[in-house]
């Protein structure tokens, strides 16, 4: 699975958690926080993504990501 496919999984779960972003055109540089996801929403989006990928890695590792592209990159490096 490449980084872009992981990015699309993150996008899909972001839309699930924040239905208001249904029509948003997501870019790798988008920040979940800037899009309106609070800390609980962000944790849920990451957990849903890890569950989809059956990936068991600590949430803390993802804290470094400043945007959705970086988040996809960190997860990609753990696969």
């Amino acid at each position: 699975m490449n980084k872009d496919e992981i990015f699309q999984i993150i996008v899909s779960h972001t839309r699930e958690v924040l239905p208001v972003l249904e029509g948003h055109d997501f870019k790798q540089t988008d920040s979940l926080k800037a899009l309106g996801a609070n800390s609980i929403d962000r944790a849920d989006i990451i957990m849903l993504t890890l569950e989809t990928l059956s990936l068991n890695i600590p949430m803390m590792v993802m804290a470094k990501a400043e945007n959705m592209g970086q988040l996809a990159g960190i997860i990609h490096d753990k696969i």
């Binding site: 699930e16 958690v17 924040l18 239905p19 208001v20 609980i40 929403d41 944790a43 849920d44 957990m47 849903l48 890890l50 569950e51 068991n56 949430m59």
Partner: protein, 416 residues
């Protein structure tokens, strides 16, 4: 007697017989019920290993068919809310607008939610879903498993900033919440206090526990769910569960002028008395004490009560005890019906929902029938049986009892 300045200015109700006060009142007065084998996921025991996929229990109850959520409640919030919380939000929405609380300073509004361990079915479902892969459990579970999440959700959505907490009193929780709201308003802590009797979302574990305890029926009517819920009838065999929730807005008379509508009623007296007993058995002494304290506080003689909405669950011992308490309190002259015969036992919600039933009957000028009351255990009481009765309620008494020796009573008086 001086008139109480504490009034009920708004209400909301959701139950298996209808959502909203109009639907609820109409179904109550028509005696329309919806008892059946419960179908909500997690309400029946899963098939055990030695069975062949057949459902291994058939607990009876009345479930809410379709919950309509107000559009103003954000969808992103609903994603992580339990069924109990969604019902509370929808019910509070009705009460909020009924009392026009958007005109009250948020800092002067309080919230008391009656009920403990109210989200059991959702929690069991979640545990079953994530068993063996617990690492993927939603982070939101860390806040949603607590009953106080309902306080967080309600204050968030409606902007309440006074105070908010939950109170538990077993099956009297809803009425305990109303008592707390009345205290908060009477003492001046807040101008408005909302009491919610929260929906108790039973899982099959609690259903089994209640059955094993002998509290929940019905072996006798397993094949006839419509006949199973029969408070005060000789053939009763325990309570039948019913999903419900109510929100009651309590405030001072002068504060209620804001809404430009006549308050539903005055809260004239209220009481909570304990039996000093952990067990589920009721006591005449405790019930009589609660009734006496509430009447004294209201400045009423028993003879002035003209309608009683009793706890009346269908419990073999509870119903007999309650009638004996009413007799000893010289209240056997007043009209009596059993709301649970139509909506089932809402447990944590019951005390608030039945108070709403009193107010709506007061407004309608009619008393709802009591279903399945074919052979009353005490025929000499003034029962409202299978047909509604026209009656102008002046002073009503509403009772709730809970396991662990809880006895509560509230007196409600027509506003004018």
């Amino acid at each position: 007697m001086t008139k109480s300045s504490v009034v009920v200015s708004g209400l909301g109700v959701t139950s298996a017989i209808g959502q909203g006060k109009r639907e609820f009142a109409s179904a109550l007065l028509a005696g329309r019920s919806h008892f059946d084998v419960m179908r909500r996921p997690g309400r029946q025991r899963p098939p055990s290993v030695d069975e062949t996929g057949e459902q291994s229990s058939a607990f009876l109850g009345a479930e809410i068919a379709d919950l309509a959520m107000p559009e103003s409640i954000p969808g992103s919030l609903l994603r992580t809310t339990s069924f109990s919380a969604r019902v509370a939000l929808a019910t509070l929405h009705e009460a909020w607008h009924d009392a026009k609380l958007e005109r009250v300073e948020p800092e002067r509004i309080g919230l008391v939610i009656g009920g403990s361990n109210i989200q059991q079915r959702e929690i069991v479902q979640l545990h079953d879903t994530y068993r063996g892969r617990e690492q993927f459990l939603r982070p939101t579970y860390g806040i949603s498993f607590m009953d106080s999440d309902l306080c967080g959700l309600c204050t968030d959505v409606f902007g309440i900033r006074g105070f908010a907490y939950t109170v538990g009193g077993a099956s009297a929780s809803g009425q305990v919440a109303v008592l707390e709201a009345a205290h908060a308003v009477a003492s001046g802590r807040v101008d408005v206090c909302i009491a919610i009797g929260a929906l108790m979302d039973l899982s099959y574990w609690e259903c089994q526990g209640f059955r094993s305890l002998g509290a929940m029926g019905s072996d006798r009517y397993a094949d006839d769910p419509a006949s199973a819920c029969r408070p005060f009838d000789r053939d009763r065999d325990g309570f039948i569960f019913g999903e419900s929730c109510a929100a009651v807005v309590v405030e001072k008379d002068e504060s209620a002028q804001r809404s430009e509508r006549t308050p539903y009623a005055r809260l004239t007296g209220w009481a909570m008395e304990m039996d000093a007993n952990r067990n589920p058995n009721p006591s005449v002494e405790g019930e009589v004490a609660a009734i006496k304290t509430a009447l004294d506080r209201a400045g009423l003689a028993a003879a002035e009560i003209d309608y009683i909405n009793p706890h009346g669950t269908g419990s073999p011992i509870g119903d007999i005890t309650e009638l004996e308490s009413l007799r000893r309190s010289r209240l056997d002259h007043a009209y009596l019906n059993a709301t649970k015969s139509i909506i089932g036992h809402g447990l944590s919600a019951a005390g608030a929902v039945e108070l709403v039933a009193v107010l709506l009957q007061m407004e309608e000028g009619r008393l709802h029938p009591t279903r399945n009351l074919v052979n009353p255990i005490e025929p000499s009481f003034k029962w409202v049986k299978d047909q509604p009765v026209p009656h102008r309620i002046e002073n009503a008494l509403n009772l709730s009892m809970g396991f662990g020796g809880v006895n509560t009573a509230i007196c409600l008086q027509r506003y004018f």
